[in-house]
């Protein structure tokens, strides 16, 4: 039985040769762990939906990637998380934006697809739906990391454009 899994951890303007060694190895370690999680599901005959969810949860839990823990900060200094998922068999889809308390936003997106008649929920409503579905909740500062805070401070101090900073840090 054949299967395929492809993942990404974002794109920035920082080419490979400019990454600090520890950034490089951390990114590779996170990607490897995510590949293993998704591959294990597929090797056991599991669904593409479960494999995608498993791989993305690993990267959401890894603070080296801009998703879940380690997400970038908004201008007001909070973390607002977006996620989406789609099933190619049924064209079922779920998406959330501005979620602030769900540990794994990809699971919230999936709950929107599987447990609601909607496709996209946002902000307080998404957070309320997450609680109703019994998804794991965390306090907002779970997502916060010193490096992302430093990037926000740099943006504000230098008044860089949003693209500049994002392109630089991916």
């Amino acid at each position: 039985k054949s299967w395929t899994l492809v993942i990404h951890g974002g794109a920035g303007s920082m080419a490979r040769d400019k990454l600090a060694p520890e950034q490089d190895s951390a990114a590779r370690a996170g990607l490897t762990k995510a590949l293993e999680a998704g591959s294990t599901v597929l090797e056991k005959g599991g669904s593409a939906m479960d494999a995608v969810s498993a791989a993305i949860m690993v990267l959401e839990d890894d603070e080296h990637f801009n998703a879940g823990r380690g997400a970038v900060f908004t201008y007001k200094g909070v973390n607002e998380l977006d996620a989406s998922i789609m099933d190619g068999k049924t064209l079922g889809a779920g998406a959330v934006t501005g979620a602030r308390y769900t540990k794994n936003p990809i699971l919230l997106a999936r709950a929107v697809m599987e447990k609601s008649p909607h496709v996209m929920l946002s902000r307080e409503g998404a957070d309320e739906f997450s609680r109703e579905q019994g998804l794991e909740q965390v306090s907002p500062d779970y997502f916060a990391t010193p490096e992302r805070w430093r990037q926000l401070e740099e943006l504000k101090a230098k008044k860089l454009g949003w693209y500049d900073v994002d392109l630089k840090y991916g």
Partner: protein, 132 residues
């Protein structure tokens, strides 16, 4: 932004994307990651796509759905369709890239920015992690 696309042993495709968005975003700004058809799309008749990059351009072009539509209606393979749409994105001034997989097991990438973190695994034993 992080993403994954997969095709399972029954030939079903799925795509997922998750992000914190842009550093310093204001006014509840939303990029392409949660917008079905822009940053994320899956269709067994074509492919699964997850995108990362300058969201506004991906939304305006409908990148993820455009790649699937080109495969479905023009019969292009995943690489040809992805390269075409990312080139068009670049002409608009957008940066970023996509990962794509199709029911036939195709796995491909297309991007116009350095520093993309990627990985691929298949039942044939391929295991690749790379930073470009």
């Amino acid at each position: 932004t992080v993403g994954a696309v997969a095709v399972d042993s029954e030939g079903n495709v799925a795509a997922g994307t998750s992000t914190g968005g842009l550093t310093g975003k204001r006014w509840g700004r939303i990029g392409d990651s949660p917008v079905i058809g822009a940053g994320n799309y899956a269709d067994n008749r074509a492919c699964g796509v997850s995108a990362t990059g300058a969201g506004e351009f991906f939304i305006r072009l409908g990148v993820a759905h455009e790649i699937c539509a080109r495969m479905r209606m023009l019969g292009e393979d995943a690489k040809t369709a992805s390269d075409h749409v990312i080139k068009e994105l670049g002409l608009l001034g957008g940066t970023g890239g996509v990962i794509v997989t199709a029911p036939d097991g195709t796995a491909t990438f297309a991007f116009n920015t350095p520093g993309m973190y990627r990985g691929k695994a298949t039942s044939k034993g391929d295991r690749m992690v790379a930073i470009y």
